[in-house]
Amino acid sequence: MLRPLCVGLLLLALTTACTVTSDPVDPADTLDAHVEATDALADVPDAVPDGRGKDAVVADADATDAVDTADVPPSPTWILTTEGAEPATDAWVRVKPVATDPQGGTVTVAVEASAFADLLGLSFHLGVDPARAEVVSVTKLFTPPETGSTTWGLLARSTPGSVQGGLGLMRRADQLFGGGSQFTGALAAPTALVQVRLQVKAAGTFDVSLGFPDTVAVSPDWTALPLERVGLTVTAAKEGDHE
């Protein structure tokens, strides 16, 4: 005897259970609760319908463009410039400039990833020299490309000199009957993960880097996907020091 009566009943019940529990749950109602806009930037617009997240600034910006200081109003305090290389490969994670606030002495950068069709998750580690700048806020931005079809979680933890975080993706449809191995997580390109506001502390140049080995994309079989990491250089100068 393999199973008692209750198993037969269970099977019937599970037909209903499947129907009920497979009803998609909007991740925005679940894990998105963790997306605490701890210090949302005033200049970041709301989510755009293409699912790339609510950072229209990031989504629409040319990734290779450094922030043009000519567009920044004269600051009585800081002159901030940013420079970043262009990713040379299809798979990358980069730090991209978003905005500067010379008056406030802050630089906002985004951690952004290229498209991945098959992805278990992405781990990132952004670092700065705390003697020249420090992390003052982190805003998580990810919006899943297929709302309702993917379970995802995005967390970030910061210290004055770094931001460590991760994005995990999992398909929801494989919850029952021993599933769980068919991951179909995907990132729309390019996908912003966090915005980090850095408070400049000292004049000079500092790198905003994506550290190894904690910045890694993970495939469904828990192998590391080849990934180019592109950082950013920020140059900060006092207005009076600027020639």
């Binding site: 008692p4 009566l5 529990t21 781990s123 979680g153 460590q164 021993g178 769980g180």
Partner: protein, 650 residues
Amino acid sequence: MSRLAVLLLLLASEVLAAPAPPAPSIVEGSTAEGTPGSPLTNRLEPGLAARRQLRAAEAPPLARFQGLPPTATTLYDNGPQGLYDVQRVDLDVFVKPGENDLTVFSTITVISNQEALDQIQLSYQLPPVLWVRLVDDTPLENEVTGSGFFTVVPDHLLAAGESFTFRMAATGSVSCESNMVAACEFATPITYVTYAGYFPENLNSSDPFVGTLRLAVPPDYAAAATGTLVSITDEGGAHVYTWDHTVPTTFFSFGVAPYQTVTDDPSGIPITVWSLPENQASAAEMVPVTDQVLTLYGDRFAPFPWSKMDIVEIGNSFGGGYGPLSTIFLLSWAFQMSDHPGGGMMNELISHELGHQWWGNLVSVWSPDSVWLSEGFAEFSSCLFNAESTGQRRQFLTDGLMYQYQVPSDQDKPISHYQIYLSEFYQTIVYDKGAFILDMLRFELGDDAFFAAMRHHVSKFAYAFAGNADFAAAIEESSGQDLGWFFDQWVYGRGYPGFLVSATRTEQGVSLRLEQTQTEKVFKMHLPVRVLAAGVDAAEQSVWVDDATTEVLVPFGADPLLVSVDPDRRQLRRLTLANPADPNLDGEVNGLDVIRFTTGMQRNLVHSTDQGDFFYPNANYPDYLDLAYDGKIDQADFDVFAAAFEGTGP
């Protein structure tokens, strides 16, 4: 005119006062083998075991039939001895399909095991007895008590070794609800009766007998039964089926319905499925599955021991099915499972009952403390088939999780507890944990040594009874290992270990600390530890745990992505994270932990619906992420993890 033909006429006129004509001669010259042994089955089994109050010492190892063909007198002869042995039972049964109205003529032969035996007591659930007589029609004193016993008083005191034969007749209805050791259903379209409780049965239900079952059914019905079908004749307007039971059995069982059959022998074993016409498609699917299962078990355990395999559809009167020798009975549900999204349930059921052809039949069990050698082994066999046919250990893992999550620790019992059949969690412990215990033994020995040991066990106890000590001895003989710790821990002991797992990063690697959290005893086991790192192949080491706290260094050549303890769940154990923020166990809190946690979510064991919560294990369930240990890895668990990760927790 045979007795059955006369019986038909008598029944037609509803006159049964007259004695029946002499019993028909037994069909001679049958060479076919195959008939039920002593299956121990789900709902049936607790009651059966309850009547096995005698807990005798384990039977000694017995070398069986080395190159010799077994004979009936040498089969299953190492069981417990009662006051007498039932040698032969011949039954003639008249069935009115759909009606609870059995008429049975029985001829029973016993041999006394003691001097001056003055009565023969049998278990009995039959309809009212009409008469009991000697073969020369001399009436015998007899009594049926309300508690299911039937006593026959011989016409003289029986000497030790003396054979005594008597006949009896009975007719009327039986209760299918009151008898826990039997199952029956008098419904349309299937009439189904099993177990000797409806026929005279030795109180020592592990005392098998040979015999013949003859069944008369209306001509538009077909009958299927245990045993080997030797003839179908037309008598008195009825079909009369005759089955020989030349291998000792402890009961007869049959179904009567407008059956249709599907027959094939793809690997040389004749397979016949008896089903209702509407289930013929499922019946056809069962044939190749049955062939695959028998081929696998024949390769791993021992050659298929019988001459044929029948599968018979019965009503949904009790659990999933049961597996007597060479004939298994499956509920109608089983024929309707193939399209269920659960998939594979039909195969699980069939492969379990087919497992009983080896476990419970070829190697039989009589002591309730050894019932897992039948049910747990059959379930292991089913899990093995599932794993071999799918490439995944899903059924093994499901069974393990069923045990771990469903059995409260204060209600857990050793699988060898002599009253395990009384446990509310009988099935979870005996079937599910039993299968997992055997798989842990397989893990300990390795496949080659394990299956060699299983074959050795079968060779010793084929056509005989075996107990826990017999099995342990056979495994140790074959493997050459002292496995007393394993049997003490898993067979004679209860529970399973919990480990509090912490990881610390060092220059040499990750230092893992495994602290056993249960207080009852320290468990021993090999725990695999696997490291996945970027750019290098996965590395795995086996950690021998035999102390309350074990520390092990897990070296790695590159920074690890994921460190896993027992990632394939080869052991019964619970893992608890010492640091909830580090579920990837690499000793650091970073984004990899987010990936690890998130991708482990939603694989629940408990599924909430409008009708309540249902427990259905997910084989890939990473229980160490179930921080609340409530069968779900859900938002609440994520909240705890997130607070720990982001440093906002307590």
